[in-house]
Symmetry: C2
Subunit: 346 residues, 2 copies
């Protein structure tokens, strides 16, 4: 008689109104899945968190399958293939894939974006951030949506966050001259300048934003990489240069406010007046660019142009806290959880 090997798994227990916490999840102990035809069993090494997860939990997105209460919490991460009946997922391979918040997952290549292989010479944690969806989001946003130019005066909000922490390095690798970052609190702001190569830093918690933007952008803003939305976006709309571009990567300030409290934008008409562009994008829609983006980002990491900042807690038990940190604004760099070590002989 044999007993199945067990694993831990986080399930959605309640739909949060405000910041999600442990009460919205339940930690279950369940058997490690058996291999099925055409699939692979993988062991989770790192799991990432992203602001958009609050929208999954609330069932507000069309691009992620509706998540029922009691379902495994959705999310992607880095994993090692430990059993396989799929040629594209050979045993031992390190992949970035949709795993769910669990220690082992049964995956295949049908889900979009499909699992992708990671560079083997870089730290595994970079498969959550710099050479994965955070880095790709920053690269696609700056280059393909933001159409960055060498003459651009660039502003980034949420500059210490998972995506924002890559933007200055990437913009500079693409030739940009000056990048200004916004973050909250002196310690975050210090790290923007020291570790993330932001040229100027605005502390939104301790500075008057109008004065700070006047001083940093006396002639206006060419490119705004927006991770927060809300009143700050309106402030930027008032300062657009001709043919400016606003890249809407996230609107975390708006996910947590009541519908009736949403900011009403006074300066949107400047978009038309300045023949500017504002564009939202979700990295899942740009899967065709992933191989080239990963090559580009890995190259910059290797030659030192991209310096990934990571914020790692240990153990799958810490997942709800990792997610909450995004909304509490406590993380610096890519927030992730180290769930397990790769098997030496998978």
């Amino acid at each position: 008689m044999t007993a199945p090997l067990m694993q831990k798994q986080w399930r959605l227990a309640a739909r949060p109104d405000g910041i999600p916490d442990r009460s919205h999840f339940e930690l279950a102990e369940v058997p490690i899945p058996d291999l099925e035809a055409g699939k692979a069993v993988v062991k989770t090494l790192y799991l990432g968190v992203a602001p958009v997860m609050l929208r999954y939990m609330r069932n507000e997105t069309e691009f992620e399958s509706p998540m029922a209460l009691g379902a495994v919490m959705a999310g992607r991460g880095v994993a090692q293939v430990v059993e396989s009946d799929c040629d594209d997922l050979p045993v031992g391979a390190i992949v970035q894939a949709r795993l769910g918040w669990q220690e082992y997952a049964l995956i295949d290549t049908s889900h979009r974006p499909a699992p992708f292989l990671l560079p083997t010479d870089l730290p595994l944690s970079h498969g959550i951030g710099a050479v994965s969806l955070s880095g790709i989001t920053a690269l696609v946003g700056v280059r393909d949506i933001g159409l960055v130019k060498t003459t651009d005066r660039i502003l980034v909000s949420g500059a210490a966050g998972g995506v924002g922490s890559h933007v200055a390095d990437i913009a500079k690798a693409l030739g940009a001259r000056e990048v200004v970052g916004i973050a909250g609190g002196p310690e975050k702001c210090r790290r923007l300048q020291a570790d993330m190569r932001y040229d100027r830093v605005i502390d939104y918690k301790n500075e008057n934003m109008h004065q700070a933007l006047d001083s940093a952008f006396p002639d206006g803003i060419d490119l705004y990489f927006d991770n927060v939305g809300g009143p700050l976006l309106d402030n930027v709309l008032a300062r657009l240069r001709r043919r400016a571009r606003i890249v809407i990567c996230g609107s975390i300030s708006e996910y947590l406010v009541e519908k009736d409290d949403k900011h009403r934008f006074a300066n949107l008409q400047n978009l038309g007046r300045q023949d500017a562009k504002m564009e939202g994008f979700f990295v899942f829609d740009y899967e065709h660019l992933y191989p080239e983006c990963i090559d580009t980002l890995a190259g910059w990491v290797r030659n030192g142009l991209l310096n990934p900042i990571e914020d790692i807690s240990v153990g799958i038990e810490t997942m709800p806290d990792a997610l909450a940190d995004l909304y509490l604004g406590t993380n610096v760099g890519v927030r992730m959880v180290h769930v397990g070590e790769p098997n030496p002989h998978p």
Copy 2:
């Protein structure tokens, strides 16, 4: 002893707060200019008007030279070259150029967009509209900014106007299935359907816009070609489908309101939520596309896919009224003025 040949010319006399009228201009009688080295003297045949002219008059634009009080009112039109010292502007040629509101002009090829030759087999008036800047604006907006797809559900405001009157034909020539137009009043709406091939028509003066948009777009809007801005744009923002595109061609509703009365947009965050794009554009920035656009538009006029609607008054004296009509909303199709006939033997 000879006296110079004289011409009429409209000059800017005052900067309008609201709708411009005759009091903002003065009609002067001045000599027809003499030919200068490298330039050409042209005879004005048709002059166009455009909503953006109010912004020239108020000195609000960077893309048109600042216009001093007393200067010839800026504007483009169709003209015949009558004297020339410029190989690109041969005597007899019919060109679209920056003329100013006057019967004769001294032009060269230095001003951007440069003068361009018009197809010789089409009515000269089409050089104001369908195969010129109005048509090019509609084509660039629908195709290059709006990235029209055959599955798009398209909405056009200001649909009876100089640009809007071309949009349904152009969208359909590019394969679009259904185009809904918005205009004010039963007569305009009748003409949208009869002459401009709009599939459905909404009369904003006599219908409840929320109900009308609910009924016309039960699943939301893929592409909005915006000529008006303001509350209607906000209403559309609330109805965006995923990866929708909003093309900001004009915001005529906002040119005339006081700064403190500007609409405050409640639904802008949907742009980020739906990974949609909103982009303002000005046709002067797309000069590199003009030759191809003119070929494309002229081809559609010849084969009947594009049916230009024109609204023509006669005599340069009518210029201020032609401009005012745009803001009063009285024109149907491209508002222009027939200033003169080409010389038979220039």
